[in-house]
């Protein structure tokens, strides 16, 4: 499993062990971060391929360009911490520890998928990894995250919950209602706004009267932070503060992670032309978080060409294996149609009002 387990360092204390390496992390730790970003990138390149040839259907939203946000943030987590997010979540599912096989099979709509093919690209979940998924209504996951935080507090646990959302979700009423409750009741939830500049075709400044998202936290007397979502290590150090606060002080934080979406909103949306120029996209691609991190590691002398090639090869293989598995995984059985609608069906009364019952009688 790709589950991140970095030393959850006490707040403030420097990682002096490796004071000389980037982020004060060991070579293994740095390689792990890179590998997670690479895996996400390659996985989604494969996803685009499979979508193009019709093996994946429906809405599909790629995360390419935003990998540093997730990898940096998750590196502050314990395996038992919770993550919930929207529909652009393939990479988050992987980095939280879900097997590429189960994720790809879900995208393919196969029985080997994490939801047995019932959810698809927008609805990835893993109870085993405390990955709460995978939601399609913009802003809908924010109250749910607040509920996860509530449950942690209710049980006196010391886990935290990361709630990811796009910047456009900030304008939803659900954001306002949730942050107030989280601050009022001191819930260990970190609300991470991935500000990739656009909600579909709408630039943030065309949708909000306030440019600086982090300032919205003041309305709830909640601490907030701004993170460079294009730099995995700065993302990590910013999140370390928020996670420590949530874990130790049970206080929520609003984090604005500034990043950029390299691809179109979904597979049907052209990369550029309508609401942003080719130049703008190229400009940001020049700051590709993976390339930048690679160069950083190389110049720090903790990543050799061979190591990089080997890692990329390994990741490629993992992705190919996942696609292979998905291809082989059988379609869900037709009997699956009526399972998982209800967790509990007693012997009384009727729950289904289509011709299911008649079919069964027949």
């Amino acid at each position: 499993m790709a589950q991140t387990e970095m030393p959850a360092r006490k707040r403030g204390r420097p990682e002096s062990e490796n004071a000389d390496t980037p982020g004060g992390l060991s070579k293994e730790e740095l390689h792990k971060l890179l590998r997670q970003m690479l895996l996400g990138r390659r996985f989604e390149e494969k996803t685009a391929e499979s979508y193009a040839i019709g093996k994946i259907g429906g809405f599909c939203h790629l995360y390419i360009g935003q990998e540093a946000v997730t990898v940096g943030a998750f590196s502050c987590l314990r395996p038992d911490d919770y993550v919930i997010t929207a529909y652009r979540e393939h990479v988050q599912a992987l980095v939280k520890g879900m097997a590429p096989r189960s994720v790809m099979a879900e995208l393919y709509g196969r029985s080997g998928g994490s939801s047995k093919g019932k959810g698809g690209s927008m609805h990835l979940y893993s109870k085993e990894h405390n990955f709460l998924g995978g939601w399609g209504i913009v802003g809908g996951q924010i109250p749910l995250a607040t509920g996860a935080g509530w449950a942690i507090k209710y049980r006196g646990g010391d886990q935290v919950c990361l709630c990811f959302m796009g910047e456009a979700a900030v304008n939803q009423g659900a954001f306002h209602e949730s942050l107030n409750m989280a601050a009022l009741w001191k819930l260990p939830v970190i609300y991470i706004v991935e500000n990739n500049r656009f909600g579909m075709g709408t630039a943030w400044e065309r949708a909000s009267s306030l440019y600086d998202i982090s300032q919205k936290a003041h309305a709830y007397d909640m601490p907030s932070l701004i993170a460079d979502g294009m730099d995995v290590l700065s993302m990590r150090s910013t999140m370390m503060e928020a996670v420590d606060r949530a874990r130790t002080e049970k206080m929520p934080t609003l984090v604005e992670a500034r990043c950029y979406r390299f691809m179109g909103h979904s597979m049907s949306d052209p990369v550029s032309g309508v609401y942003r120029t080719k130049e703008e996209v190229e400009e940001h691609k020049a700051k590709d978080p993976i390339r930048v991190f690679i160069e950083q590691l190389q110049s720090a002398g903790v990543l050799s060409e061979e190591e990089l090639t080997a890692m990329d090869k390994e990741v490629h293989a993992e992705v190919e294996d996942a696609a292979e598995f998905a291809d082989q995984s059988p379609e869900p059985g037709l009997d699956e149609l009526y399972t998982d609608v209800y967790a509990e069906e007693n012997e009384h009364g009727r729950l289904f009002f289509d011709n299911k019952n008649r079919l069964e009688q027949a």
């Binding site: 959810g119 995978g134 209504i137 949730s178 509990e344 009727r350």
Partner: protein, 330 residues
């Protein structure tokens, strides 16, 4: 057995289930310090403390969704809507999150939650505060829908709903809270979901109904008896699951039926029941099933207009006459 009110029955159900299972908590507006807008949660804050009886800001969408998230983590939230009229603000979380999470996760995350509160008209609360909304809830697969009419049903069904593994929408009634009735004290008194209750036996015609209207139907049946008509009153009690067998049994016996409900006609519960009856007991019907519903208007404030808009004993009897003596028609 104890003689208690519908309100006290709900309160007892909550207290007993919270006693029994520490994962059960109650959350909503005014449920704590204020003891509930309708005093259903009286004394619970004192008994269980602020973590388990939680006063919320007025943010229906927010705390309904919070409940769903907590349920995903295994807690058993009871979310009180001060009335279901206000729940519309939270319907996205009820329909798009609670009702679908088990399916979308392929069975990984269930959502054992109860959304409860009064529904339907009280007295002169006018259009925004007088809506019977069970039909809308029952439309969505993934939800269970419960509408108790008596104190005993209220207790037995709320306990069953809290113990149930799925999202249950529980619709009470402001006008029933003060109703008294015999209620078993037994801490394990449960009425399983999906079992209708024939609240009065009859042979000439079936009055099929749910919720508050069960009492109106009983009054109508008593009057009809004086006219020599034996009406059976079938209280469905839960709409999803639905006790179709009980409906068909009654139809097989009486061959005539009237459906009575508080809510609106188009897409109402009665429309579905009538369809099921004609699909599954077509040859047993001697007359069309007639539906008695709220007038098809937003609820007016003025006393007489409101009375005219509500299903009444008179209108039920008028409907029975139509069904029993069709020849008089047309």
């Amino acid at each position: 057995m104890a003689m208690i009110t519908y309100r006290e029955a709900l309160n007892a159900a909550l207290a007993e289930e919270m006693e029994r299972d520490k994962d059960v908590f109650l959350m909503g507006e005014e449920v704590g310090m204020y003891n509930g807008a309708y005093k259903v949660s009286k004394g619970l804050l004192e008994k269980f403390g602020e973590l388990r009886v939680v006063d919320t800001p007025i943010t229906e969408l927010g705390f309904a969704g919070l409940g769903v998230g907590a349920a995903m983590l295994g807690l058993r939230p009871v979310i009180e809507f001060m009335t279901h009229n206000f729940a519309m603000l939270a319907w996205d979380q009820v329909f798009n999150s609670a009702a679908k999470v088990l399916y979308m996760t392929g069975g990984q995350y269930s959502c054992p939650i109860v959304f409860r509160g009064p529904s339907g008209a009280a007295l002169q609360l006018s259009a925004q505060h007088s809506q019977a909304l069970e039909a809308t809830y029952a439309h969505f697969p993934g939800l269970k829908v419960v509408t108790p009419a008596t104190p005993a049903d209220a207790k037995g069904l709320l306990k069953a709903s809290i113990r149930d593994g799925d999202p249950v929408v529980f619709l009470e009634s402001e006008l029933l809270y003060a109703l008294k009735g015999e209620v078993p004290d037994d801490a394990d008194f449960i009425i399983p979901l999906g079992v209708a209750d024939v609240k009065r036996q009859g042979t000439d015609i079936s009055l099929i109904t749910h919720g508050k209207m069960a009492l109106t139907c009983l009054q109508a049946a008593a009057k009809l008896e004086k006219e020599g008509i034996s009406a059976e009153v079938v209280d469905l009690r839960t709409l999803r699951p639905l006790d179709v067998e009980a409906i068909l049994r009654s139809i097989h016996k009486t061959n005539r039926a009237v459906y009575v409900e508080e809510g609106w006609s188009f897409g109402g519960i009665g429309a579905t029941i009538v369809s099921l009856i004609q699909e599954e007991a077509f040859d047993y019907l001697d007359a069309p099933v007639v539906r008695v519903t709220q007038a098809d208007v937003p609820m007016p404030y003025a006393k007489q207009l409101e009375k005219l808009a509500k299903p009444t004993v008179e209108r039920i009897i008028e409907a029975c006459n139509r069904v029993l003596y069709r020849t008089q028609e047309a």
